[in-house]
Subunit: 204 residues, 2 copies
């Protein structure tokens, strides 16, 4: 693959543990093969409503308990800090809207913001559903608080997130993390070795 | 770990693609750490009814289509032959009953039979729900057809399978493949690297 190869598409919800694990690894894996990654925060609430699914921790008690244990163990296995949030899952439309507004101005800053939101939730146990928490995270990155607060209420920003969710559904996305690499779909942080093999070999 | 370390418990349904992938690898992985594996065929129909779950391919269309693609791709990634069965999923009580009856007489033969059933389904596309197919597979391994045919109808053999399913539920099993290693649960063929790391390090 050359520098002109198209980016990978990375769909995730800011409340998704395996999405967080993927977010800590995918850019570096792609970069080893001269590939970039386009990040798409989406709302699993919309995806699950359309597809008739449910969060892992709201499924049967055995699977829910296992899932929380597996989030923590998978993080240790991948060398990523993780503390299961005390409020989980939660609504992430404020974080996602902030991401798209920032992305329109500064892609690199939007990427740093996305990492900061995920770490605030999965390391520092902050309530990222709250607009104030989202604004605090942004302010620490030098982003103008008032401008962002206004953007969170702007119809065009709300419409952008809705549109991204609809486009994700149309592309066949059914969960988080969901990667599309040259038309090939990979669901779950545990598909990272297959993604790397795919990038390395051009398909297998 | 020494030779006296307890065996790993491997729960699976003969109709489970990821169970098949695990079945082709787990004994060799365990053997590298001087561990043995106790195989437990179970019926996902009973497990899913108790836990309120459903087969991957009977979930939403996007996830169902992805799952079949992922079965095939994961098999290629793991170097295992795989052809998605034309009848899927199907009932596996005859195969599972045959396994437990054989296991009572010859553990090693029961293991060979289990491999043969999985490969008949996931490589040769045979209808392993049929008692005749199960008897054909057994006969090719030198097992007495008449005795096994009688065993498939024996109340004590039926009770053994029912009991194994209930014990699996009591142990917290919610799907296939499901491994328990020294009390630690691992769900899915994609957890094999974590299982190996666990065996190697004694926990992480």
């Amino acid at each position: 693959m050359t520098d002109s190869a198209p980016p990978l598409d990375f769909y995730f919800d800011f409340s998704s543990p395996y999405g967080y694990l993927m977010s800590e690894k995918i850019d570096a894996v792609a970069a080893r093969y001269n590939r970039k990654v386009r990040w798409h925060p989406i709302l699993l609430g919309i995806i699950f409503k359309a597809t008739g699914s449910a969060p892992l921790t709201l499924q049967n008690p055995a699977k829910a308990a296992y899932s929380i244990h597996d989030f923590e163990r998978s993080a240790r296995f991948m060398g990523i800090p993780y503390r299961h949030p005390s409020r989980f899952p939660l609504a992430t439309q404020n974080a996602a809207r902030a991401y798209y507004w920032l992305h329109g101005q500064d892609c690199a800053l939007a990427r740093r913001f996305a990492h900061a939101v995920y770490r605030a939730f999965f390391v520092d146990d902050l309530d990222i559903s709250s607009p104030d928490t989202v604004l605090d995270i942004a302010t620490r990155l030098g982003i103008d608080r008032e401008q962002l607060a206004a953007a969170l209420q702007a119809p065009e920003v709300k419409a952008r997130l809705k549109d991204e969710c609809e486009q994700a559904l149309a592309a066949g996305v059914f969960g988080s993390p969901h990667l599309i690499v040259d038309g090939e779909h990979f669901f779950g942080a545990d598909r990272l070795p297959q993604i790397e093999h795919w990038l390395q070999t051009g398909g297998f």
